[in-house]
C-alpha cells in the first residue's frame, strides 16, 4: 500500500474519517482501476466523482468531439470546449481535479477485436455508452473476463441502473438476450433527456463502483433500480440469471465478443442529397417530404411544404399515405428517417428515399438562415 502524502491525507480526509473507509479503504481506492466506457452524460459524473475520490487509474473510452448540444448534461465540458475531442478535454479537466489520478485515454471505438484486452486491464467496468452495439460488447467482455460491470441508461425523465457480476447475478443478456429492433429505441438525441437525469444516475454508478472496490454495503447485483424523475420515485426489480443465457447460462454459445451486425435497416435505403431535393422542389417535381421528428423540433425549423408525421406515431398515420406514391423521409440528422424507412418499407411502401443528413444538412447546404439545434 502506498503511503499518503500530507496533501493526500487532507484531500481524502472526509473519506478517511468514516469508519467504513478509514485510511486502509482510501489506499484500496488508490490502488484500484476503473474503465469508463463513454464520457458523455453518464460518463461525466462517473469520471468526475471517481477522479475526486482518488481512484488510482481511470480509463476513458471515447472518440467523439464536443458538440454544443452536449453541454446541457455533459458536465465534464464547458462552452469553450465545443469542437474539441472529448477525450482531450476530459483528460485535462480530470487531471486538474485530481493530479494524483492516472488517466488512461483510449481514443477508440470499441469493437470485438479491442474490447477484451482493454477490459482486462481494469478492476471494475462502467457502461456510460449510448448505443446497444457498445453495451453488448462491454457486457460480453465483462462476463468473459470476470469483471463487475456497473450498467446504466437514461431516457427523458427516467433512468435505470444495475450491477452485472455474473455468476453471482445476471448479465445484460440474461435480461435482454438480443438487441431490440432499432425503431423501438429512441436515443438521447431523438428522445431527449433532462440534464439532471444522467447526473443522478451517473452519480449512483460512481457510488456502486466505490462500494464494489471497498466491498461495502449491498451492491446492485441482481437488482434493477428504475428512477422516474417526474414522480420522484425509485423502484427496485429483482433480476435473476437466465439459465439459458447464451453468455453466462448453463450451455453458453457465446465464447468471445462479437460485433453486432451493422444495422440492417440502414442498408439499402435510397438516399437523396439536400441539393438534389432543393432542385426537385424548385422545379416543382419533388415528392411529398415526410418529416418524422417531433412537433417541437418541427417548430424550430422545417423544409418548406414538408409533412410532419413523428416516428413514434408513424404506424398510426401510415394509413393516410399511399404506398404506391413516392415519398422523401427526413429527420434531424438522418437516424430516425432510416427507422421510418424500415417501418414503411415493411408496410408495403416501395418508392421511398431518405434525405442524407436530415434537416441539419439542409440548413448547412441549402438554407443558411435556417435555425439549427
Amino acid at each position: 500500500m502506498t503511503e499518503l502524502s500530507p496533501d493526500e491525507l487532507l484531500r481524502y480526509s472526509r473519506h478517511i474519517v468514516m469508519p467504513e473507509i478509514t485510511l486502509a479503504g482510501q489506499q484500496t481506492l488508490m490502488a484500484s482501476s476503473v474503465l469508463c466506457v463513454g464520457a458523455g452524460g453518464l460518463g461525466s459524473p462517473v469520471c468526475l466523482y471517481l477522479a475526486a475520490a482518488g481512484i488510482g487509474r481511470l480509463g476513458l473510452v471515447e472518440f467523439d468531439t464536443i458538440d454544443l448540444s452536449n453541454i446541457q448534461r455533459q458536465v465534464l465540458y464547458d462552452t469553450r470546449d465545443v469542437g474539441q475531442p472529448k477525450l482531450d478535454t476530459a483528460h485535462a479537466r480530470l487531471s486538474q481535479l485530481n493530479p494524483h489520478v492516472q488517466i488512461d485515454a483510449h481514443a477508440l471505438r470499441l469493437a470485438a477485436d479491442n474490447v477484451m484486452p482493454l477490459v482486462k486491464q481494469y478492476d471494475v467496468i462502467v457502461d456510460g455508452s449510448d448505443n446497444f452495439a457498445t453495451r453488448y460488447l462491454v457486457n460480453d467482455a465483462a462476463v468473459l473476463s470476470g469483471k463487475p460491470l456497473v450498467h446504466a441508461s437514461v431516457f427523458r425523465f427516467e433512468g435505470q441502473i444495475t450491477v452485472f457480476d455474473s455468476p453471482r447475478g445476471p448479465c445484460y443478456r440474461c435480461l435482454f438476450p438480443e438487441p431490440p429492433p432499432a425503431e423501438l429505441v429512441p436515443s438521447c438525441a431523438e428522445g431527449g433527456v433532462l440534464g439532471m437525469l444522467p447526473g443522478i444516475i451517473g452519480s449512483m454508478q460512481a457510488l456502486e463502483v466505490v462500494k464494489l472496490i471497498l466491498g461495502l454495503g449491498e451492491p446492485l447485483v441482481g437488482r434493477l433500480l428504475l428512477f422516474d424523475g417526474l414522480s420522484a420515485q425509485w423502484r427496485e426489480l429483482p433480476a435473476q440469471r437466465a439459465p439459458d443465457c447464451a453468455l453466462c447460462g448453463q450451455s453458453p454459445t457465446i465464447h468471445e465478443p462479437t460485433d453486432l451486425p451493422a444495422a440492417s435497416w440502414a442498408d439499402g435505403a435510397p438516399r437523396i442529397s439536400a441539393s438534389e431535393l432543393a432542385g426537385l422542389l424548385n422545379a416543382g417535381e419533388a415528392p411529398t417530404v415526410i418529416d418524422v421528428r417531433e412537433p417541437q423540433e418541427y417548430a424550430i425549423a422545417a423544409i418548406p411544404d414538408s409533412k410532419l408525421l413523428p416516428l413514434m406515431e408513424l404506424s398510426i398515420h401510415a394509413a393516410s399515405l399511399d404506398p404506391g406514391k413516392p415519398y422523401i423521409l427526413t429527420c434531424h440528422r438522418g437516424g430516425r428517417s432510416l427507422k421510418a424507412f424500415e417501418q414503411l418499407r415493411a408496410a408495403g411502401f416501395s418508392n421511398l428515399q431518405v434525405l442524407d443528413g436530415g434537416i441539419d444538412a439542409w440548413a448547412e447546404q441549402i438554407d443558411p438562415e435556417m435555425r439549427r439545434y
Binding site: N131, P186, P198, L226, R235
Partner: protein
C-alpha cells in the same frame, strides 16, 4: 379483475400513457394474455410495440415470465430496453 398497468421509458410516448387501471372480464389472465389484450383492445393503433419480446414485464415489482398468472389487484409494469447515456 382490476389490474394496475404501468409503462416505462419509450412505451410512455409510443402508447401516450404512463399508467392505467385495467378492468378485465376474464377471471384468469397471464402476463402474455394481458399483454395481448392490452395491445389489441386498449391500444389498437399503437399496441404492437408492447408485443416485442424485448419489452420486459414485472408483476408486483418482480420480473415475470409470460406464463405467470396475474391476479386481481396486481400491478403489472412493462419496460423496454433503454440505451441513452
Amino acid at each position: 379483475m382490476a389490474v394496475r398497468i404501468v409503462f416505462f421509458a419509450s412505451l410512455r410516448e409510443q402508447l401516450a400513457c404512463s399508467s392505467l387501471d385495467w378492468e378485465g372480464r376474464s377471471p384468469q389472465e397471464t402476463v402474455a394474455s394481458l399483454r395481448e389484450k392490452l395491445a389489441r383492445e386498449q391500444f389498437p393503433e399503437s399496441g404492437a410495440v408492447l408485443l416485442a419480446d424485448t419489452v420486459l414485464a414485472a408483476v408486483n415489482q418482480v420480473m415475470a415470465q409470460p406464463e405467470q398468472a396475474v391476479a386481481d389487484g396486481d400491478e403489472v409494469a412493462f419496460f423496454p430496453p433503454v440505451t441513452g447515456g
